[in-house]
């Protein structure tokens, strides 16, 4: 199969050639470091600094709070996380009702996970139902969460995604980003934005022309549509 992308990349007579054959390692390292620092992965950032020699201007000590809060959410200790956030800055949760709801919802999920059914129901009625009354979207999510109680084994139910690690990670990231925002620091890591930009760009190219090209369909493996049948992954 002839490579669709020519050696220098298409239409590159005026554009920089870097990026077509490969990307400087140092740039990728900076992207990874930026991800660790903005997402509050302190230990990973420290190890990465040592292993790759990539430095960061951010004082890693200052992201310790964020790391502890993230860890609490990821361990399922949502209450602890909420206390810590309020110690740090009570306005963060006061001003973001969506975030607050998601954390309370996560608390409910953790209660259900621990099979504390009575506590879960009490908590839902007392804290979550009032929030749901204000916002139909919240109510819908609350109903979906309570559906977990209806299954003998929620892990094989249609709402099993709520019990996944990803769910905790999402809540943790949302909270982390709110803290960063309150501290007027850079809010979003660059990496997700670049992946989204790729998806958006591919769609735009599709709109502009009918020519098919090797399109990345799987953003977790980098597999392309054209070569996925022919090239087994080498990793």
């Amino acid at each position: 199969m002839k490579d669709f992308w020519s050696e220098d990349g298409p239409g590159s007579s005026t554009s920089s050639k870097e990026g077509f054959a490969g990307v400087k390692k140092e740039r990728m390292n900076r992207l990874i470091m930026n991800f660790f620092v903005t997402e509050g992965y302190v230990d990973a950032a420290r190890e990465f600094e040592r292993e790759s020699g990539t430095t960061t201007e951010v004082n890693l000590e200052t992201i310790k709070d964020r790391m502890l809060i993230r860890r609490a959410v990821q361990k399922g200790e949502v209450e602890d996380a909420i206390d810590r956030v309020n110690d740090l800055n009570p306005e963060i949760l006061e001003h973001d009702s969506k975030l607050f709801f998601h954390l309370q919802q996560q608390r409910l999920i953790e209660l259900i996970r621990r099979k504390e059914v009575d506590k879960a129901l009490l908590f839902a009625q007392e804290y979550l139902a009032p929030l749901g009354e204000e916002n139909p979207g919240f109510l819908e999510e609350l109903e979906r969460t309570l559906a977990l109680l209806a299954f003998e084994d929620p892990l094989v139910s249609p709402v099993k995604d709520l019990l996944g690690v990803q769910r905790r990670q999402q809540a943790a990231s949302e909270l982390n980003s709110a803290i960063l925002h309150a501290q007027c620091q850079e809010k979003e890591p660059k990496l997700p934005n670049l992946i989204k930009l790729l998806k958006w760009s591919q769609n735009r190219l599709d709109d502009l022309s009918d020519t098919s090209y090797p399109k990345i369909e799987n953003f977790e493996t980098g597999e392309t549509s054209r070569s996925s049948l022919q090239t087994p992954m080498v990793e």
Binding site: E26, N193, Q230
Partner: protein, 435 residues
């Protein structure tokens, strides 16, 4: 690969395209008088005939590498009849005609406020303009449309699907008409910066709406750390994110484990070249005899070069020379790249202080990292226990991490989008999105 620093530096200093800065006084229409600063022009004819227009263009075309191009014209004197036209026209434009009357020309006319393109008959567009007014003309290069402004207010899109390479063009047609052109040396009446910022914000908003798998970032980071053998970071990241995945199982069957790759990387960082070499040979004894076979040719070559560099670092000059003499010949002649790199490396000997020499980059930690990457890549290739005709075909000697695949794809797609847009619009620069 390793000698690419110099090349990249060159690319980064590449100049941007020139932008119009004044009126073109080498070639302009009849009946015009241009000021000394080449920014004002006056009509001194009678303007009694339709071919008596005096038109003048800017000294350069609209640059192709910007998102929006914009300039303004201030009417000092509307003259006898106020028949001034502001707009754009291509290089072949007849300077005895108003912009808009001819093909590949676009104009906004003062007397009736109409817009003109390729016709003597205009279409209703905006208000008329007179003495004291400031009118602007802009091209959105990515949307390929032209808009005008009056006294700082945008009048909306006038023309779309604009393709030609255009010059800012002004036409005057009655006695005493006098206009002053601003190509950006002075502040504009219209908030062009604001418009561009808004465009970018809208774009960014649309980008953020794109949905990607919730765990995409985590997985990409993990596979990056694994790919390059950053085992301790991976472990810390796993612990930080409470992932209880066993990663080692899949590694056991491979020629080099993640742990091996990590150890080699650490040793290279400490300058312990011999340790790294011993580990490679310990795992694959046949390497002791054949150091020039793929995928290990590059690896052993870089180890050998790095040994030389580390000796220089310790100021053991004669040992370094001795090492070069005995070891480098093994690799000479295998490829032009290798020969070129050897030349660069040996040039270090010519300088009293190699650190500040033109080859100083060879002495940096970045270079150690680059060598570690080359060797890591060889170990990865040797470990891909599914020998496949595709894996090594296509000229890609080294496998890429998912992150790199994604970034390369982004650059390629962005360039292709610009090519589809007749090579107009901003040039994508990955660095802007990383720094």
């Amino acid at each position: 690969m390793l000698g690419s620093q110099a090349k990249n530096r060159m690319i980064e200093t590449m100049a941007k395209e020139p932008s119009p800065s004044q009126l073109n006084t080498a070639n302009y229409g009849n009946f015009l008088k241009v000021s000394k600063d080449k920014l004002s022009v006056q009509y001194i004819g009678k303007g009694s005939h339709s071919n008596d227009v005096g038109a003048i263009q800017a000294d350069s075309p609209v640059p192709s590498d910007v998102l929006v191009y914009y300039y303004e014209v201030h009417v000092r004197d509307a003259g006898e009849r106020g028949v001034i036209a502001v707009g754009f026209a291509d290089f072949h434009f007849r300077l005895s005609r108003q912009p808009g009357w001819e093909p590949n020309s676009y104009g906004y006319h003062a007397d009736d406020g109409n817009k003109f393109h390729n016709s003597g008959k205009g279409e209703e567009y905006g208000p008329s303009f007179v003495q004291g007014d400031t009118v602007g003309a802009g091209i959105h290069l990515e949307n390929r449309d032209i808009f005008f402004t009056k006294n700082g207010k945008k009048l909306g899109v006038a023309f779309s699907n604009v393709k030609a390479t255009l010059f800012p063009t002004v036409g005057l047609h009655s006695q005493n008409e006098h206009v002053e052109v601003n190509f950006g040396a002075k502040p504009f009446q219209f908030d062009i910066e604001g418009m561009i910022a808004e465009e970018r914000e809208q774009r960014q908003f649309a980008v953020l709406q794109s949905e990607i798998p919730a765990n995409a970032c985590h997985n990409i980071v993990c596979s990056y750390l694994k790919h390059y053998g950053y085992a301790d970071t991976l472990k810390a990241f796993d612990e930080d994110s409470f992932k209880d995945q066993l990663r080692s199982n899949e590694e056991n069957l491979q020629a080099f484990s993640l742990e091996d790759r990590k150890r080699v990387r650490n040793m290279l960082f400490e300058g312990n070249i011999e340790g790294a070499r011993q580990l490679l040979i310990g795992r694959q004894p046949q390497l002791a005899h054949s150091q020039t076979e793929t995928p290990f040719l590059d690896a052993f070559f870089h180890l050998s070069v790095q040994q030389f560099i580390e000796l220089l670092r310790q100021e053991k000059i004669s040992e370094a020379v001795e090492h070069a003499r005995t070891s480098f010949s093994t690799f000479q002649g295998h490829s032009d790249q290798i020969d070129q790199h050897l030349e660069d490396v040996l040039a270090l000997l010519a300088y009293k202080d190699p650190y500040t020499s033109p080859m100083g980059y060879l002495m940096t930690t970045t270079q150690r990292e680059a060598v570690a990457d080359a060797i890591n890549s060889a170990m990865l290739e040797a470990s891909s226990n599914v020998p496949t005709p595709y894996a090594s075909s296509g000229g890609s000697k080294t496998s890429k991490s998912v992150l790199e695949k994604i970034l390369v794809q982004l650059c390629r797609v962005q360039a292709e989008i610009r090519r589809k847009n007749e090579n107009k619009g901003e040039i994508f620069n990955l660095e802007d999105h990383i720094a």
